[in-house]
Amino acid sequence: MNIREELQEIFRDLFDDETIVLFDEMTADDIEDWDSLSNISLINDIEAHFKIRFTTEEIMSCKNVGAFIRLIEDKADK
C-alpha cells in the first residue's frame, strides 16, 4: 500500500465509511463528520499510523487531503 491508500484506510476507518475515495482537493466540506473535533482524531490516527509528529503550524495548514499526503511523504522520508 502506498501512502495515499493507507491514508484512505485511516479516513474510512475514522469516518466509518467504506466508500470514501480520497482526492487531493478533498476538504472537510466533502466529508460530513470531518469537523474540528474529528480533525484531532484524524491527526492522532495519522501520527500513530505513520509514526510521525506534526508541528502545530503543519496541522493548521493542512486544509485538504493533498496537503496531508505531501506532508506525510515529506515526514515519512526522513
Partner: protein
Amino acid sequence: MDGMQISKILKEARKFAKTALACEKYDIKIAVLGSCSIQYFVLLLRYYLFQNGITADIYEGEYNGIAMDVLDAGSGLYSFAPDAVIILPDYRDIKAYPKLLCDEDASQLCAGFIDGYKKMWAALTNRLPGITVLQGNFVLPLESPLGNLEANYKFSRRSFIRRINGELLNVRPANVILVDMEYLASAIGKRTWFDNSQYFLTKMPCSLECLWDLTELFAKQILALKGKVRKCLVLDLDNTLWGGVVSEEGCDGINLDPNNAVGESYLAFQQYVLPLKERGVILAVCSKNDEEVAKEPFMKNRYMKLKLTDIACFVANWEDKASNIKRIAKELNIGLDSMVFFDDNPAEREVVRQFLPMVEVIEAPEDPSDYVTALDEAMAFEWTQLTKEDIARNQSYIAETQRREMAGSFVDYGDYLKALDMRARIGIVLDNQIARFSQLINKSNQFNLRTQRYSEQTIAEYMKSDDAKCISAELRDKFSDYGLISCVILRRAGTVCFIDTWVMSCRVLKRGLEYMMFEHILSAAREWDCRAVVGEYIPTAKNGMVKDLYETLGFVPAESVEEIHKTTDDSALYSFDTAAEPSKKYYISAE
C-alpha cells in the same frame, strides 16, 4: 495508552453515540462544565457509563463558560436540571499569581480565588437542591519559571496552585466531591498528560491519549453515586498471598521471606490489603486447597500479615471458583456485583469472568511485585464517602461468625433472638448522621422498597420540611454495634403518610428490626393525624426479598391513594389504616 488505543476507543464511542437511541428515562442527568473543550470527554463519558450499565443524559456547558452557566439563573444548565455536575478546571484559569517575594499576596489571592468556587457551588446547590458536584482539582503544570525555587517560596506559581488545591479540600461542602486530577496526571506522567500543541489547537483538558483515564476517574464517581460500588475483595492464596504452594511446601516453606525480593512482594501485597480492610472492604478467601492446610499459614507462619480474623469468609475446597464466589456472596449476604476477585491464575480468572461477568476480575500481573499497582490502578473500591460504619464493618462480619455459632445451640429462633440481647435506637435522624443515612440509601439494593437515591443535600431538605420525616435506626447486640443500619423517609401527602424510602442493611436481616421500625412509622403517621400509611414496592433485579414486606406487616393492596400513584407499571401500592395496631412481635429493646 497510546495513539492507536485511544483511536479505537474513540471510534467505538462515536459509533455508540450514533446508534444509541434516546432513552425515555435516563439513569442520571449530568452537566459537564469546563474552561476547556469538553466534547470528547462527554462522548467518552456517555460511552463509559453505558458500558457499565448506566444511561446518562449529558449537558455540555458552553466553552469556557463555567461561571456563565452557573451564575445565570436562566442558563441552559438550570433548565436541564442535572443530578450531578462535573467541573473540569485548568491551571490556565488562574489569572492572578502572587508577586515575587510577596507571601501575603498568596494567601489573599488564594482566598479570593477559592471564594469564586464557593459562590459557584452555593449557586448550584441553591438552584438545584440535591445536586452533587464533582469538582476536579488543578493539575500542576510542568513549567517552573523559578526552577527548584518554586518549591521553596509560598509566592511561587507551583506553591500557589498547591495551596488552591489544599484550600478546595478545606472548604468543600458535603455535596462537593473533589476529583483528584492532579494525582491522576502525576501517576500517568505530566509529560504525557500535557500536549501543548494539542492544547493550543483544541483546548482539550489533557492530551488525547490521557482522555480515557480522565473519563474513567470521573465515571467511577458517577457509578458510586448511582450505588454501583464494590465492597468485597476475594483473594486466592497460593502465589497470590504468598509465594509457592502451601500443600507442597508446607506452612513455613511458602515464600514470605522479608529478606527475599519475591517474598517481600507478597508481604507488600498483604500490607496493601490490610488498610483496605480497615476502610471497610470485606476480605474473603477463595482457594483450591484443603481447608486446614489453607488456614495453617494464617495461624502459624510468623511473617503472615493477614490473620484468620481479618477474613470475613474463608472458603477452601476443590470446587470451581465461580461456585465458591457465589457461596461467599450468599454467606456474606452481598451482591455478586459488589465483589472483586484477585487470583494469579489466568485460568481461574477466565472461569470467573465467563460464569460471573458481574464480578470484577483484576488482571493480576505475572510479577507479584506488581500486584499492589494492579489492584490499586483498577480503582475497584471507589466510594463517595467514608463513615464510621464502614470502618466497623469487618468487625461485625467476624462477630457474625460467633453469632452463627451461638445460633447452632438454639432450637427455637425466637429464643436465639432473645439471647442476642438486641438494643435499638430509632428516631429522627441527627445532623451528624446525614452522611451515613445518605450512604445507606444510596448503597442498599436488597432491602430497599423503592430504590430512590438521594444526595445528602436532598436529605437535609427533607429534614427541614414539616411534611417529611427522616427516621434512622441503630442496632447493637451482645456481639457488635452495627451503627446506623436502617433508614426511612416519610412524606405527608394529604391525609396519608407515604413511605418514600425504606432501606435496611442486609447485615441485620431476620432480626425483627423492620417490625420495630414499622411501629415508629405508624406513630409518626399518627402524629401527623394521617388516616393511613401508604407503602410502595418497586421491583428491581435485586429487591425480591422485600416483595411481600407490606403484606407481612398487615398492609392491604391498594390502587392510587389520594395523590399517591404507582411509580411504575409493575410496582405495587399498599395501605395500612392508622387506627389498626401492628401485629408482629420482635425481641429488641429500645434505648
